[in-house]
């Protein structure tokens, strides 16, 4: 009985907070937009089984077909995947040296450094993204400093471009990349690097042939942890991006709040979820393999 309860608890959680909302969204996606409150049809008006039958009879895949008709949607999906992929590579490239040097620090310092990596979470994400507007704008901190130093004479236009979006994503998701890479390289025997040097490698070659291959599990985990949430990212592209920054999160927002077309917005969300199932499953498989290798 206790066992059943213990196993049942997480499933109950999933049912309440994942399956029920998902069913709601799916139902919306199958409905049609309507000028009403709530703004979709069919609504479940007559209680009981008969009413439910009417609702189901009113469902169709029209919204999904609609998504294929307008190039805006698939361009937004592709552009989101592309931006997420580029941002993931950039984030991991920045995170790796940070994680590596953290692992080289003395054990006492490591605790402090891990804390520092997590520290940004203590302030609101939204405020931190707003802060970047202040840094990146034409009269912002970055341009003022660069012009004062004399490196540039005209301000760089960064805000409201994809560059700003990349900066925002790298900054925001850095801890998610640093921590798994750090956990991976921290466990590495420092003698491995020495052994490689001893057998004839230069420091750089040793790093490339031994440390990097052994870091792959950490790099993969970091990539998935950045890529998956970035594809659907909404706040960073809307605050830092420009009008030409096309990301599916913004399209979703517009459908919901500007067009008040809940059914199409739901269809957009469902397709996004399906797209992300692939990397999520890959991530799970990778984590599983990693656990097995450690046993």
């Amino acid at each position: 009985m206790r066992r059943l309860f213990l196993i049942g608890l997480p499933y109950l959680w999933l049912l309440l907070f994942f399956l029920v909302p998902f069913a709601t969204v799916l139902r919306l996606a199958l409905s049609d937009a309507d000028l009403a409150i709530p703004p979709y049809t069919p609504r479940w008006e007559t209680p009981g089984w008969a009413g439910l039958r009417d609702v189901i009879a009113g469902w169709d895949l029209e919204n999904f077909v609609w998504l294929t008709g307008d190039p805006l949607y698939y361009r937004a999906y592709l552009s989101s995947l592309w931006i997420a992929a580029v941002a993931t590579v950039l984030t991991v490239l920045v995170a790796y040296p940070i994680a590596w040097s953290m692992a080289q620090a003395s054990p006492r310092w490591r605790t402090v450094l891990v804390l520092l990596v997590i520290l940004p979470f203590w302030t609101s994400f939204l405020i931190r993204v707003y802060a970047w507007i202040g840094i990146l704008s034409n009269e912002g901190l970055l341009n003022q400093v660069l012009m004062a130093v004399g490196l540039i004479s005209d301000p760089l236009i960064i805000l409201n471009t994809n560059t700003a979006v990349y900066i925002g994503i790298v900054y925001t998701y850095l801890p998610f990349a640093v921590l798994p890479i750090y956990a991976n390289v921290e466990r590495m025997d420092p003698a491995l690097l020495e052994a490689a040097c001893d057998l004839g490698c230069s420091r750089l070659e040793a790093f490339w042939r031994v440390v990097i291959p052994l870091s792959i599990p950490g790099l993969l985990a970091a990539s998935f942890l950045v890529f998956i949430p970035t594809v659907g990212e909404f706040i960073i592209p809307s605050l830092l991006g420009g009008s030409d920054t096309l990301m599916i999160g913004r399209v979703l927002w517009d459908e919901f709040f500007a067009n008040r077309d809940w059914p199409v917005a739901s269809a957009v969300a469902i397709v996004l979820l399906v797209l992300l199932i692939v990397p999520i499953v890959l991530f799970q498989r990778q984590a599983q393999r990693q656990r097995e290798a450690e046993q």
Binding site: E194, A195, A196, D198, L199, G200
Partner: protein, 357 residues
């Protein structure tokens, strides 16, 4: 072949290794022996090139070694943790160093096969390090470090991670391989038994300094300091004051007991505080007074029966505990000493060593 002169290593104000002068010859099996923190690993890491000496010179075959980076030294190291590359197979681990040398595929394959035969692991060539046992990993590490045919092989506690039985077997295997390949081995260990069994010469270290360099038997029979005598094997140390000497026979005044005598190589001034070191197996124990140079009476306080030998702890009249080791040649305890028996201990003058340090 290897010549260290005035070699020192300091970390800030802390001195890890001080003023080491050492010569290691070709084809030698040389041990650096000492407790942890005595600086033996630092010397090895300087030879490998992972640490830079603060002072002194290091020559290998007449050539200055200090300027050569670790990846260019004709020196290879077998790490205490083995440091096998977990993402490579056994064969690829062994081939790792050869590939860096730019040898042809055929040459590499031949050399790897030869190394696998040497350590008897041919069947496991395709396995990954986490798919083989600890003893096998140890042999892969050895094969990998020998693959490039280094002039000098450094072994950091090579048997430390193995269990006792495997360790004894591996000791002989290591000696075999050393003989077959003719490589100079320098091994770092804190296990005196390991050093004694395998080495041609042993350097005993204490707090960053080399205390004595000699063959295992010389170290055991003629330790130069109290530290060496106590570190290697079991020993009775009797604190005495030197008396007069007649030729090489020195009289020692043992407080509370009669004078005893010992042979010395170098003269010791009368009145010097010194210690007489005598190994337990050189002390004769008997019921009747033995006809030996030095005798003392005492009472048995402890008996340690180990099967092949028995150690008797005997308290002499002045309260000193002396140990006497008796081989159990007969099956029953025929000698029949038991607790509180009054016994005689005796040894000849040439059995003990006088230590002034």
């Amino acid at each position: 072949m290897i010549e260290l002169t005035g070699l020192s290593k300091r970390y800030g104000a802390v001195s890890a290794v001080q003023d080491i002068d050492l010569k290691i010859y070709e084809r030698e099996f040389f041990s650096l022996l000492g407790p942890s923190g005595c600086g033996k690993t630092t010397i090895m890491r300087m030879l490998a090139g992972f640490e830079e000496p603060s002072d002194g010179t290091m020559r290998l075959g007449g050539e200055d070694l200090i300027r050569v980076p670790p990846n260019k030294r004709p020196v290879n190291m077998m790490f205490q943790s083995y440091a096998l590359f977990p993402h490579l197979t056994v064969a690829d681990n062994i081939a790792f160093g050869l590939r860096r040398d730019g040898l042809s595929r055929g040459q590499i394959a031949n050399r790897v096969a030869e190394m696998l035969r040497l350590v008897q692991l041919t069947d496991l060539a395709k396995r990954k390090p986490d798919q083989i046992s600890g003893g096998q990993r140890q042999r892969v590490a050895l094969a990998r470090s020998l693959a490039k045919a280094p002039k000098l092989l450094l072994l950091d506690e090579p048997l430390g991670a193995l269990d006792k039985k495997l360790r004894t077997e591996t000791q002989f295997e290591l000696m075999d391989i050393q003989e077959k390949t003719g490589t100079t081995f320098v091994i770092v260990t804190h296990d005196q038994e390991e050093a004694m069994t395998m080495s041609s010469r042993v350097a005993v270290m204490d707090r960053g300094k080399i205390v004595q360099v000699a063959t295992p038997s010389e170290i055991y029979e003629y330790p130069q300091t109290r530290y060496v005598a106590e570190f290697i094997g079991d020993v009775n140390l009797i604190e005495v004051k030197a008396g007069n000497a007649v030729e090489d026979r020195l009289t020692l005044n043992w407080p509370g007991e009669g004078p005893i005598s010992a042979l010395v190589k170098d003269p010791v001034a009368a009145g010097t505080e010194c210690a007489l070191a005598i190994r337990p197996e050189k002390v004769v124990i008997s019921r009747d007074r033995p006809a030996l140079d030095n005798v003392v009476q005492g009472q048995v306080t402890d008996i340690a029966y180990l099967g092949n030998v028995t150690t008797y702890h005997v308290e002499t009249g002045n309260g000193q505990i002396l140990k006497a080791l008796v081989a159990n040649a007969q099956q029953s305890a025929a000698q029949g000493f038991t607790w509180f028996d009054m016994v005689w201990l005796g040894w000849n003058a040439d059995r003990g060593v006088v230590l002034t340090q």
